[in-house]
Amino acid sequence: MSILLDKNTKVLVQGITGKIGQAQTKWMLAYGTKIVAGVTPGRGGARVEGVPVFDSVVEAVKETGAEASVFFVPARSVKDTVFETLEAGIKLVVVVTEHIPVHDTMEMRAEARKAKATLLGPTTPGILTVGEAKMGIIPGNLFPKVGGRAGVISRSGTLAYEVGGILAKAGTAPSTVVGMGADPVVLTDLADILKCFAADPATDFVTIVGEVGGIQEEMAAEYIAEKFKKPVIAYIAGRHTPEGKRMGHAGAIVQRGMGSVQSKVAALEKAGALIAKTPAEIGTLAQRLTGATA
């Protein structure tokens, strides 16, 4: 079991004929993902790794029944492509692309809400359900063959890999790893992804991998305190971040106490979450929570 994605999900790859699109399609197929179609306007009729390519999303959906889409589309085309994808009825979209203008993200977010679709990103590594399927760029070889019972939600990409691997090593492997993206405005909120895990009978507890900047963790803390019944482990990266400095992620900027590690940790701790001070501590806390051993 899992959230949002499993081995039966029919996946569409947009921008499949590009260099990154091709390489990642190969990795996703190798992991077991059921990729049924690709879209690159102007390249309809081609094949990439045996996957048929279409000119439009509507066509791809009609011909193959694709129900989820992952983007390897250049930043300047992402907004239009998201609108096209939502219009074609797709309800799960993973936007891997980084450096998307925030005004575009705000418009996409509004459109996604209207369409009642889950859009991950921008700047997300995607989603991986251990042992079943992955959409995006999370390397599969960091995880065991069979999924466990730990949900992972991460704002950062690379850190999601590390935490997923740490949980697996601790004997508490992830069920689904979700990257939500690290831009100042995200397409789906952390709390909304928590709701998916709340409803998943195969997930026993959730690990939140947050970072300095933005207020997603603070907003999620309110939801956890009020409604979320499963245990939560949280690690917030960036204790050594100097104030007022941008740390690569557009969202990771500390200004006058807002979005600081301290405010996030305090909010999550108050909501009952177990706080890890380093990524490795997540493994220790997960073992304590589940009684698992490495």
Partner: protein
């Protein structure tokens, strides 16, 4: 990218914001010539990209032409909060009955745009938000919607304004919202917006920060993005296409993601002192890694280098070749520890090992830091 006040002021004026008459001067003579366009008395403002200029001697007033010459000369030779003053803005000094705050910004909570009208302007708005939140009136707008006339008037009315003044304030809010949208801004702000005794409005300040990711569609924006970065290594990093932040310590760090980079700093910080934050993002090539490794090693007094990479979208086996080239060319003597996991990790390890890099295959960053401490006998 943050714009200079005079650049923002020009864009605001084009959009219909009533900006007090001004001219830009790079010499005292130019400031005198400005008086043909701008009536005395005037305010002379250092054009530097930092806030609180007033408190740090960057804003002076002048009532006579002589004062304009001497005070401009004073400012042009000086630095405000460490930023050299290369030009000043000469603006008409307006009479003040009340100072307001107007701002439009990206609101991370709503994932939308927030328009703010404050009845206590002229002071730091974050302080107002903390101490007198009741003085700030907000309206959330979900783009692509515009801020409509009636919405802006309602906001001004809620803030207690009536009659012509209410309408004029609403017009400023609408104009500011337009600039914000048109220029892909992160923030557009006037603080203060002055109400004169005869109830006219003058913007006597202009802040505009444009989203770097949107600059590709704004040919009208200044081209000197790089020159606006103060720190030389941070500037060079931007040129390469990576993010670098200078820190106090002596352990150089290279990571392939922002979150991983911050976590690496956290873990290194427990036992050693990070010299920098560096993240490559998803664009690793041999060349990018060559330039990046060369860059972080420029800082004097380094004791070690920690490389923390994941091969998801990044071809780390290509990146490894770039790292090795630098280590060989520069004959690097400090210990170099690498944790590189993911797609094609074995090839990556072999390339790095051959150049004497200590390879850590455990998934935890702690293990990499332990290995570095061992190498340093720390």
């Amino acid at each position: 990218m943050r714009l200079h006040e005079h650049e923002a002021a020009s864009l605001f004026r084009q959009a219909g914001v009533p900006v007090a008459p001004f001219a830009v001067a790079r010499t005292a003579d130019e400031a005198l010539a400005a008086l043909e366009k701008v009536e005395l008395p005037v305010v002379i403002k250092a054009q530097v990209l930092v806030g609180s200029r007033g408190k740090h001697g960057g804003i002076l007033t002048a009532a006579t032409a002589d004062e304009v010459r001497t005070k401009t000369a004073t400012l042009l030779g000086s630095a405000v909060r460490g930023f050299a003053v290369e030009s000043v803005m000469v603006s008409k000094k307006v009479l003040i009955a009340q100072e307001l705050y107007v701002g439009v910004t990206v609101d991370a909570v709503a994932g939308a745009i927030t328009v703010i009208l404050g009845t206590a302007g002229g002071i730091d708005v974050e302080t107002v938000a903390k101490e007198r939140p009741e003085a700030l009136y907000r309206k959330t707008v979900v783009p692509p919607a515009e801020l409509r006339g009636h919405e802006a008037r309602l906001l001004a009315r809620e803030a207690g304004f009536r009659g012509d003044l209410m309408v004029k304030i609403a017009d400023v809010l609408i104009a500011l919202y337009r600039v914000f949208r048109k220029s892909d801004a992160m923030i557009a702000e006037v603080n203060p917006l002055v109400v004169t005794p005869d109830e006219n409005l003058w913007a006597v300040d202009a802040v505009l920060e444009v989203d770097d990711s949107a600059l590709f569609r704004h040919p009208e924006m200044p081209k000197d993005t790089l020159a606006r970065i103060d720190h030389p290594i941070e500037r060079a990093a931007k040129q390469i296409g990576v993010s670098y932040v200078d820190l106090d310590g002596d352990i150089a760090i290279i990571s392939s993601g922002a979150g991983l980079g911050m976590a690496t700093m956290d873990v290194v910080g427990q036992r050693l002192k990070p010299a920098n934050f560096l993240e490559t993002g998803g664009g690793i090539t041999e060349e990018l890694m060559y330039k990046t490794t060369d860059l972080v090693l420029q800082k004097p007094g380094l004791k070690g280098l920690l490389i923390n990479l994941y091969g998801g979208i990044n071809p780390i086996h290509e990146g490894a070749k770039g790292i090795v080239r630098v280590l060989k060319e520069k004959r690097v003597k400090i210990p170099v520890v690498a944790k590189a996991l993911g797609n094609r990790q074995e090839e990556t390890w072999a390339t790095l090992r051959e150049a004497g890099v200590i390879i850590v295959t455990d998934i935890t960053t702690e293990a990499a830091v332990d290995a570095l401490c061992d190498a340093l006998n720390h």
